[in-house]
């Protein structure tokens, strides 16, 4: 507890230091260096809590009749590890990246406060502290989103984010209010002890899913995410996508798995439906996107969908009394959450480095950066392979576990689960395959080919701090991919605490194989696969180089007609065209309009692509129009006399009293 408990106030102090020193040259070093150390403290506290006993602490702060209750158990510990990793990596990256910031005073004070808010959520043991941390996290991240408020689109991003963050906070407030019951037991212990009636529990679950889901980016509550995450400076984008969405996942797990107690099977079905839709829709959006940071943000939506598929399976298995399966599914979800933190942070760092080098976020202006930024491109490639779910990196290990969780128990008696689990399996497979296409496109357009603009042709490699952060995360992608057993065993206390079971011990198996149920059912050995592939490559290279005559450079062949203009390359839009035609014509009503001027007319020909976001069109746009309509009507109420206002007050009082009489 001590590590975590001292790191959080120290982060607050650092935030205050940030307001003072932001404009001095040393400010960046102090704030990010301090954040790096304190994030390491959180990481150590997290590891302690994962293995150690549950720790409590009560501070005489906050509301007098509740106080501030803190608790550190395995679940908090696991997410503190995520926070420590993501926060530490972002701080390390920002030590170098932060020098490009034009207004450091708009970033530096909020960065440690953002970390502190997230850490507070993780150690909170009463609703007040939890919501305090939650709102702090929302507000500081909103301030960071608005750091570059003059850039086009950022003001709108901040506005939408603020609305959705408020909505999410309100939903959680409602959930906690119902959990606390009429007696107002806001401490988590009394919520655990109280078992709400089935109907109430159902409403709490739905409200918690809405509250936490809108922060995590669950479809249809994801609309703010691809606007807000890219608008922030890149290391903050990494933190928002890599860590803040995980804090939201933590909130969901804490409320639904821990505080609420046993659940009904339909809860699993509901989460499975949302998770499946989120995974597929997120990656399809990412495929259509040409802004590299928005692409990454949409891919976050996809990965959150995969995490929620795991959580939905865990809920379903838990409700049907199949605890080993629930432990497997929960482990898969948590493993994927950790992996996503690592590779998404890495990818956002890479996008930040590219943004600094070229001044652009639009992929269509890049190309050929692998020659100009070799280290960044190498790390970014590792992130792409990991997020595409390809062996031997970590994305595959967690997606493999999720697939095993889908296959583990086909004998369901509930029809909702019988149909939803295989359909989610298909959704997961589709999302993984589309993610592969998405990241071939992202890496291929940004780093490969020939530079499309002068800015890309003269880009320069980024600073050593940033490289260190990216390479560190790339190494973690490989390590978690070839030693998945270590991570699975580390998650075991969390799974046991929440599902009453754990996966079999993995580290005892020979050669670090992982076998989620038993070896005859399924096993995977990342280390051996990695070893075999590496050995085969070395062997082949040795043999082939002995046989053949070497390499000569020459002009590109391109079937004999190489075109020197860089515009003749495949672009991000043209790469996505087949997929747009196959998937997006249905989902997004995508259409291409070609305008070809008649002969003699020397205007340029043009092609216009249109994509509609079905969620925005059907939910948010009508909602916004409705609010606008009501606001227009209510506007008249602003200009009334004091008599009429008093009349309103009186009328409202009478109506309320009448309602109260009728109620009783």
């Amino acid at each position: 507890m001590t590590g975590a408990i001292w790191s959080i106030p120290a982060l607050f102090v650092l935030a205050i230091v940030g307001t003072v020193t932001a404009k001095t040259p040393a400010g960046r070093i102090v704030i990010y260096g301090g954040s790096l150390l304190l994030a390491a403290g959180l990481l150590i506290a997290g590891f302690d809590a994962l293995t150690g006993p549950v720790q409590h602490l009560r501070l005489p702060l906050g509301l007098p009749w509740i106080g501030t209750n803190l608790r550190l158990d395995a679940l908090s510990g696991f997410f503190l590890v995520i926070l420590g990793l993501g926060g530490g990596g972002a701080s390390l990256f920002a030590l170098g990246y932060g020098r490009h910031e034009h207004h450091p005073e708009r970033v530096l004070p909020f960065f440690p406060a953002f970390l502190a808010g997230m850490a507070t959520v993780l150690v909170a043991d009463d609703a007040f502290t939890f919501l305090f941390g939650w709102e702090l996290m929302s507000l500081t991240s909103w301030a960071l989103v608005m750091a570059h408020d003059k850039e086009p689109g950022n003001a709108r991003a901040g506005f939408v984010y603020l609305i959705m963050a408020t909505f999410s906070g309100l939903a959680l407030l409602l959930a906690f209010g119902m959990l606390a019951g009429p007696l107002g037991g806001y401490a988590f212990d009394s919520m655990r002890a109280a078992h709400p009636a089935t109907g109430t529990a159902a409403i709490i679950l739905i409200v918690a899913l809405i509250g936490a889901g809108s922060k995590a980016g669950l479809v249809p509550l994801h609309v703010w995410l691809p606007l807000a995450h890219p608008a922030a400076p890149s290391h903050v984008s990494a933190l928002m996508s890599g860590v803040m969405t995980k804090i939201a996942v933590y909130g969901f797990i804490r409320i639904v798995f821990d505080l609420l107690g046993p659940n009904q099977w339909w809860a699993g079905t509901a989460v499975l439906v949302l998770g499946g839709i989120t995974a597929v829709l997120g990656v399809l959006h990412a495929l259509m996107e040409r802004d590299i940071k928005r692409l990454l943000a949409y891919s976050t939506v996809e990965n959150i969908g995969i995490v929620f598929i795991g959580l939905g399976l865990a809920l379903a298995f838990r409700a049907t009394g199949f605890q080993a399966g629930a432990a497997l599914a929960l482990t898969a979800a948590l493993f994927h959450a950790l992996n996503h933190t690592v590779f998404k942070s890495l990818l956002f760092f890479g996008a930040g480095a590219v943004l600094n080098a070229t001044g652009e976020r639009d992929m269509e202006t890049m190309g050929g950066l692998i020659h100009r930024m070799p280290r960044t491109s190498f790390a970014f490639l590792a992130g792409c392979v990991a997020i595409a779910g390809l062996p031997p990196l970590n994305g595959f290990a967690s997606e493999w576990l999720t697939l095993q969780a889908i296959l583990v128990h086909p004998e369901m008696s509930e029809w909702g689960l019988k149909l939803m689990i295989p359909v989610d399996g298909a959704a997961l497979a589709l999302a993984a395959a589309l993610a592969g296409a998405c990241f071939v496109r992202a890496f291929g357009i940004v780093f490969l080919g020939r530079p499309r603009t002068d800015a890309a042709a003269h880009a320069r490699e980024t600073d050593p701090w940033s490289i260190a952060a990216m390479m560190g995360f790339a190494a973690l992608c490989l390590l978690a991919g070839i030693f998945p057993g270590v991570v699975i065993d580390a998650i075991a206390p969390v799974a046991r605490g929440l599902t009453g079971a754990r996966m079999p011990v993995q580290l005892g198996d020979a050669w670090m194989t992982i076998a989620p149920v038993e070896a005859s059912r399924s096993s995977y050995n990342g280390l051996l696969v990695f070893g075999f592939v590496t050995a085969s490559i070395l062997l082949t290279v040795a043999v082939v180089h002995r046989l053949s005559r070497g390499v000569r450079r020459g002009p590109a062949w391109d079937c004999g007609f190489p075109d020197p203009t860089t515009a003749s390359q495949y672009s991000a839009a043209s790469f996505a065209q087949p997929l747009r035609r196959v998937f997006a014509t249905v989902v997004f009503q995508a259409s291409d309009t070609v305008v070809m001027p008649p002969p003699g007319d020397n205007r340029a020909a043009s092609i216009v692509r249109r994509i509609r976001d079905p969620i925005w069109d059907t939910v948010y746009a009508p909602l916004g129009r409705g609010v606008g309509w009501i606001a227009d009507r209510a506007n008249k109420l602003q200009f009334l006399t004091i008599r009429r206002y008093l009349g309103f007050v009186f009328g409202a009082l009478v109506v309320l009293l009448m309602a109260l009489t009728l109620w009783q």
Binding site: L403, A429, A433, L528, S548, V551
Partner: protein, 316 residues
């Protein structure tokens, strides 16, 4: 122990050495059906030797990725192929990866090749990569649905366990398996770039996919890619043979006689598979690129239908 290791080694060498022969066989069958004499079945070996002996010419702006990709593609395809049981079910390292891992290893190879296609920045490379990823975005989920069907019936995603279940257990006739077989044949056609989806014998055609991606390769790099393509074809036919016709395959602890019988049976199955592929390729026409998604979508739906049937029929 030593025998098991040797058996694993034999399997790896066997599949590597014989895969060009299978490609040669398919070409020969196609040539005969077109009333051509066609090159010898050993022509692929000669091609490989010729390519290996030549100097590799790569474009001026090719990066390290372009040079590494062929070896990576070859190595991961080879490892994936070595994980598919051929003559015996219980090989030494068969537990290091299951059917999902095999699918994903092939995915890794494709990822590398698609990136290599975009490295030079030519329009042919881009068109190939883009279409390859479109095809894989449907073929891969279809493949996973097939894996699901088979795994639910056998109670395992481990190919050796699946083969043993199919060999010994009373699986009987199942609708899901039939659906999975049809879907797997479609996926195998698409993944190997065979005729209704792509034409392996074409160059300089706007509809080509795989050949467009590897257009810039020459010499030893091209040799690696050609060999990987042969390996992949062998892998898919071996996989179909292993799951749906495991007849003759040796199971249990390794012994010389059952293994020899298994090897003979496997060779016969591969020959039949090659002939069937040649016949199939000659008897259908290549489809337009944008009809491929429908074709593969059918495989995906068949696979999903098979899995749904299995889920629904359990626990009733």
């Amino acid at each position: 122990m030593i025998y098991a290791f040797l058996a694993q080694l034999v399997q790896m060498t066997l599949i590597l050495v014989l895969s060009p022969l299978l490609t040669g066989l398919v070409r020969k069958v196609k040539a005969r059906l077109q009333r051509r004499r066609g090159p010898s079945v050993f022509q692929p070996y000669r091609d490989l030797r010729r390519l290996l002996g030549k100097e590799a010419v790569i474009a001026d702006n090719a990066s390290w990725l372009f040079r590494v990709a062929p070896y990576f593609v070859f190595a991961s395809t080879w490892v994936a192929a070595a994980l598919v049981p051929t003559f015996a079910a219980n090989l030494m390292f068969s537990w290091s990866g299951d059917l999902i891992a095999i699918t994903a290893l092939l995915g890794s190879a494709r990822f590398a090749l698609a990136l290599a296609g975009m490295d030079i920045g030519t329009s042919f490379g881009g068109i190939g990569s883009s279409r390859e990823m479109m095809i894989s975005s449907l073929a891969e989920p279809a493949m996973l649905m097939i894996v699901f069907s088979v795994a639910l019936i056998a109670g395992s995603t481990q190919l050796s366990t699946i083969a043993e279940t199919m060999l010994n257990g009373d699986v009987g006739l199942r609708v899901s398996l039939a659906l999975a077989l049809i879907a797997l044949v479609i996926v195998a056609m698409a993944e190997n770039g065979r005729v209704p989806v792509d034409n392996p014998a074409t160059h300089l055609e706007l509809t080509m996919v795989h050949e467009a991606m590897v257009l810039e390769y020459s010499g030893r790099h091209l040799a690696m890619i050609e060999l990987a393509a042969s390996l992949k074809l062998t892998l898919y036919i071996a996989m179909i043979a292993c799951v749906f016709v495991p007849l003759g395959m040796a199971s249990g602890p390794g012994q010389v006689v059952p293994d020899a019988i298994g090897a003979t049976a496997w060779l016969a199955k591969m020959a039949v598979g090659g002939v069937l592929l040649g016949v199939a390729e000659t008897s259908v026409a290549k489809m337009r690129v944008f009809r491929v998604p429908n074709f593969l979508g059918a495989a995906l739906m068949l696979g999903l239908l098979g899995v749904l049937l299995l889920f629904v029929s359990r626990g009733m």
